[in-house]
Every structure is written in structure tokens, then in C-alpha cells.
Point group: C2
Chain length 381, copies 2
């Protein structure tokens, strides 16, 4: 198959591109490289020494014999170039990772807020509009977030995207699970859902929307093949997820910093499983005229303090509780349906089993590259 991976230079996009290429597909990475620009803007860097996109692709050609094409296109500002690429390449599948993905970055200031809206919303509309205008029948697979489910549902399992309402009238409604975003970034993903609802309804675009949990882990079997293929590991206060920040703190003997009581429950998935899920979604496209297919892309839930204890147990680190910089409940439960992927054969990598290799392979190995001052949260809301 001919596959476009938008944002294919990023943390999820790169290992996905390698996996889809390994399977024998023609892979084209479309990326504006904004994630690397933001590294420079914030004075941060991946803990792992990532190669630039051309070195990565050259190395992959040597290692695998497979060619990955790279198009440096900004989806939010260069519509014509993207449209032309669709017309020339006729991709069967478009995997859309091309969004600014940090909630704290989106909340940093007016510039980062507005960049997130421009990049994510205008970008997503341009993608959908270009698919319609080009006339291709591509399956669009979008990486969304569990964060679109913002409402507490004590005792209830969060469904996969849709909710049935019985309002007493003759028409029952099947609605998108109500949105209640917690950041500008999460809001952009809620607004994306409306793009997909509309383009599917009006233009019969075939769309799969993946509501992903927090991704942990760094390497896949393919990014391990050569150090030039290594994947990103972010540990800074904006892009580093809670688990990566714990691992980094532990590696240099710093206490693990937990916000509030650490009672926030979050959904997680390993990067290897993310890649598998994209493949599963690709193999199971929605039928023509079917509604948008929504999967919850996560494999387990943990409270933040539970994660801290897990990392502390493996590394001997201490735990330190700080004031929560965000507006959120101190304690929340989270039950999530992830039937779809399990039914279709996903075999999850569990945190309890996979975490130790992260400690040894990544955070301890690259400990000398850690800049401790970058770990604390720098965005408050």
C-alpha cells in the first residue's frame, strides 16, 4: 500500500513509519519538522540522540533496503503542496500524527496557544479538504487523545467514542461522547472530532480516530536496529510525560516529583503497541458510508502515585509531593473500554514488565545528557 505518515518525524510517527515500511508499504513522511524547531525554541533536547530526518531515512535504506520518501510540507500553510502530493501519489492510507501534542506547551503563552490552534485545526481541515479536492479514496487514521473525554464518569466505563441518548422524543441520538477539554491542545482534538464527523457525514471520508492514552517506552524492535534510528525520549516539563520525568529523575538520584496527591488516574500504552494499533486500524478500515470509527488506544490505567512507586521500587528513588500546577481534580477514577483493539488481536506490553528496560536502555544509558533544570513544569493553569 501507499501510505502517507503526517508528522512521521515525531515520537509516534517515526517508529510507525519504520514499521509500515518494514511491512513492504511505500511510505511517505510529510512533516514540517516543527517538533525539532520547538526543541530549539525551548532550549530542550531529546534525551536520546536523535538523528536528523535525512540521516534517519538514509540509515533505514541501508539497514532495510526500503525507501522512505520525505516531503517537508507545512500542512497548515502549504495546502497546494499537500494537494499536489495527494494527486501525484494517490495514498491508500493517510496516518495523521501531524499535530502539536503537548498540553503544557499549548498553555505556555499566547504564541504557543495560537501556534497550536493554527497548526492543529487549520492543518486538519486542510488535510480533509485536500482529500475531498483530490478525489482520492484514502483511509484517514488520526491520532486523537483520551483527553477528549473530559467529564468525570464515576463508576461508568468510557465508551469508544459514542454515546446513545434517549431523550424521550421519537429520535434517539447517537452522539460523540461530550467534550470537556482541559487545555488548548485537548480542545483542538475535540474540535478535530467535529471535522471528522462532518467530513464523514458530508463527503463520505473514511476516517478512524484513535483516542490514545499516554505513550510510554522509547524503542521498538526497528528503532533499535541502529543508533541512527533511535526514537525521541522527552523528559522536559512541556513534552516529557509523567513517566519519562520519573525515569529521568531516578537516573540522576533526584526525588520523583508528584503533583498534588498523585491520585490522577491516566491511561497508558507502550510505543510498540501504538505502532501495532496503527497497523490494526489500517487493516480494518471503516466501510464506505460508515460513521467515523473510534478506538480507545490504551492498554492499562494507573494513578500517578502508583507509577511513582513502581519507578521508586525499581530504582530506589525517593518520592516528593508538590503542589499541582494545573486545574484538575486531585483524585479521579478512570475506566475505559478498549474492546476494539483487544478483539482485533492487540497483545499489550504491560508497564510492570517493560519498564525496567526503559530504566536501563534509556534513562541510565543517557544519564549524562540530562539537564535537571528542564524537568519541572514550566506551564501553569
Amino acid at each position: 500500500m501507499n501510505i502517507f505518515v503526517l508528522g512521521g518525524d515525531g515520537f509516534c510517527g517515526w517508529p510507525t513509519s519504520l514499521h509500515l515500511s518494514e511491512l513492504g508499504n511505500d511510505v511517505t513522511i510529510v512533516d514540517n519538522l516543527c517538533r525539532r524547531r520547538i526543541d530549539r525554541e525551548l532550549g530542550i533536547d531529546s534525551l536520546t540522540p536523535i538523528s536528523d530526518i535525512h540521516e534517519r531515512i538514509d540509515c533505514w535504506r541501508e539497514v532495510s533496503g526500503q525507501e522512505i520518501q520525505f516531503l517537508n510540507i507545512d500542512l497548515s500553510s502549504d495546502y497546494a503542496a499537500f494537494l499536489q502530493a495527494l494527486k501525484s501519489n494517490h495514498p491508500d492510507v493517510i496516518v495523521h500524527f501531524g499535530e502539536q501534542r503537548s498540553a503544557p506547551y499549548s498553555m505556555k503563552n499566547s504564541l504557543t496557544n495560537r501556534f497550536t490552534i493554527q497548526n492543529n485545526l487549520v492543518g486538519t481541515n486542510n488535510i480533509c479538504s485536500a482529500i475531498v479536492e483530490s478525489g482520492i479514496d484514502a483511509h484517514l487514521i488520526h491520532l486523537g487523545t483520551m483527553g477528549v473525554y473530559g467529564y468525570g464518569t464515576a463508576g461508568l466505563e468510557i465508551p469508544e467514542g459514542y454515546l446513545n441518548l434517549e431523550l424521550g422524543g421519537s429520535d434517539d441520538m447517537e452522539i460523540l461522547y461530550p467534550a470537556n477539554p482541559g487545555s488548548i491542545y485537548h480542545m483542538s482534538k475535540c474540535q478535530d472530532q467535529l471535522f471528522f464527523l462532518f467530513y464523514n457525514k458530508n463527503y463520505q471520508l473514511r476516517i478512524t480516530d484513535l483516542h490514545q492514552g499516554i505513550v510510554w517506552g522509547t524503542q521498538t524492535n526497528l528503532t533499535r536496529l541502529n543508533e541512527k534510528l533511535i526514537n525521541r525520549f522527552d523528559y522536559d516539563g512541556d513534552y516529557g510525560t509523567v513517566l519519562n520525568r520519573f525515569l529521568t529523575q531516578a537516573a540522576i538520584g533526584h526525588p520523583l516529583t508528584v503533583h498534588g496527591t498523585g491520585g490522577q488516574t491516566r491511561a497508558f500504552i507502550h510505543i510498540t503497541d501504538t505502532v501495532q494499533c496503527i497497523e490494526i486500524a489500517m487493516r480494518n478500515p471503516p466501510e464506505k458510508h460508515a460513521r467515523v470509527k473510534i478506538y480507545n488506544q490504551m492498554t492499562e490505567t494507573h494513578r500517578v502515585r502508583g507509577l511513582a512507586k513502581l519507578v521508586a521500587g525499581m530504582t530506589g528513588a525517593e518520592i516528593s509531593f508538590l503542589q499541582n500546577p494545573r486545574k484538575e481534580a486531585d483524585e479521579n477514577d478512570l475506566e475505559v473500554s478498549n474492546e476494539c483493539f483487544l478483539t482485533e488481536g492487540l497483545e499489550p506490553t504491560r508497564l510492570a514488565e517493560g519498564l525496567l528496560s526503559e530504566v536501563i536502555e534509556i534513562s541510565q544509558r543517557y544519564a549524562e545528557r540530562i539537564d535537571i533544570e528542564k524537568i519541572p513544569c514550566a506551564s501553569f493553569w
Copy 2:
């Protein structure tokens, strides 16, 4: 009070600006004049001979002795200028009409689609972000649309914005009425709702969102004072509402063209009532920390064929039924709550009473300016 009217050169914005100025407020119109640019792009023109913005403002100064300020700012691309205007003027109220408002125009082609998204979404986010960044405590009043309520609710009245869900868990949810937009334009207004939800929740912005029906009528008591103050009357296939197209057809002896069975029920409000509603909303701002206040800004509902009969009865025109160019149900019911405005004193102008003066004052008076070729719908979806 110091009031910004965004989109104050447009069909709703201009009479609102005059009314608020007449009441003794300091009014600043902020407009990128894109509606006039689109007239030239489409080769259309208001049936009424509107003056340019500077002539209008000069005439108003002569007629009333009141000064209206004009800032030619594009809200979606010139954030810095708008932020500076907020910091210099400290408006108490910002009335936001500054959006591309035609569903057919938004569905015309990829360019008009993408313009609508850029103008409406990036513009609305820039406005909210600039209010936060400037630190002013302005009340934002936004003109939304009844079209955000896309779901059929046979036998049920559409509430004013919110719906209570009892899901069986301990937490009931009060959610925005589920969105199901019928065009790119309507989608942008649904996405606007999420901006307001978030900026209100996170930054305590005081926001009123008005879900407006189809506005009919042209003149208010103030736009009548001098022909240089005259308001727009659009009758073309993109910007002309169904009623204006009927009036124009009748004026030149053309049959009234009804799409499908004409069983579509729509909500209506007279332009004079729109202006009154803005004043009412302004006098009743939400309290600090209150949720977004949502009103349904409409006064009566009619089926399209009922409107055709009404106009035919007044003018002797014939009625002709054409195939519907849009994807929508042929027949739908519509019951809408508009408690809020009625409670707060709105005295509606009814179609049955006000329509005849439209026929005489506008469509017959300017009949020689009608270009019959511009009336049919040019966008199909």
C-alpha cells in the same frame, strides 16, 4: 460603556453599532471588510446601495453627533494589532459578529471552505486569547447560530444551549447540546462553542453565546435616518436568505423557487430584534465564574413553503418547486425555547406584520438593481 463591535460593517454589525452608539456608548468597529471583498469575488452586490464604511461613519456623525471609531484589523492574521487595541481602549463589551456567515459560501470550494475555517476559528481563538493576554475584563457577546443544533428532536423543544445527562453514575453531566453541523460554516460555529466552554472554564472569560435564527428585514429606525446609513440586503444564492430571495423574485415577477417540498422548518428573527437582543445581552452579563450564557435568538419558526405562500399572498407571485441542492431532510419540525429573551423584555416584530414593508421599502424600491442570474443557489452539497 466602551464597546468593540467586531464585524461592525456587516449586516447585523452595522445596525447594532448604530444602536449602541445612539445609546451613548463609545463604539469601535473592528472589521477586515471581507464581506465587501467577497461581493467583488462573487460578482454580487447588496440590493440596497450601501455606502463604504467611512461614508457611513461620517454620515452617522452628522446625523447623530456621535463618533464611531473604525479599526481595519483582520482578526485571524493581525493578532498584535487587536491586542494593542484592547490594551489601549479597555472595552467593557466585545460584540463578535466577525465571522464568515454563509453556509453555501463555505461549501462552494476548497478556497472558500478554508477561508471560513481560517477566518472564523483562528479569529475566535485570537479574540479569546487577546482578552486573556490583555488582562481586561470584557464581556464577550458572540453571534452563533441555531444551526449548531443539528440533531432532530421530534416532539422535544430545543433548550437554550445545555442538556442534562443522567448516565447512572454518581456524576450527572451538564453538556452542550450535541453538535451535528450541516456545513463548514455551521461546523465552525460548533467549534466556537468549544472555545467558549474552555476559555470560560479555564480563564473565567465572561461570555454570552447567541444562537441566532435566520435574520430577516433590512432597516432599523436608525439605518432609515439617511440613505448613506442603509443596511445590506443580500439576495444572491450564497448570502441571500430564503426570504430575501423570495422577495427579490416577487419584485421582478419571477416564480418563488422552493427547494424540495419546502417542508424545512427554520427559526427567524427581525434585524431590529437582533439589535435589541444584543442590548439585552449586554445589560445582563454572566457573573464572574458563571458558565457561558446561551440564548436562542429567534422569535418564530416557519416552514419554507409557508414563507413562500406568505410572500405569494402579498405580491401575487407564483411558487415553483425545485430539487433540493443540499443534503438535508425534506421535512423537519423545530421547537425552540427562547425563554431568556422573552423574560428579559424582548417584544418581537412578527413576520406577518413586518413583511409588507420589506416588499415596498426594499425589494420593489430597488427592483431595477436586481440581477436575476444571481438568485439561484450556486453551491451544492
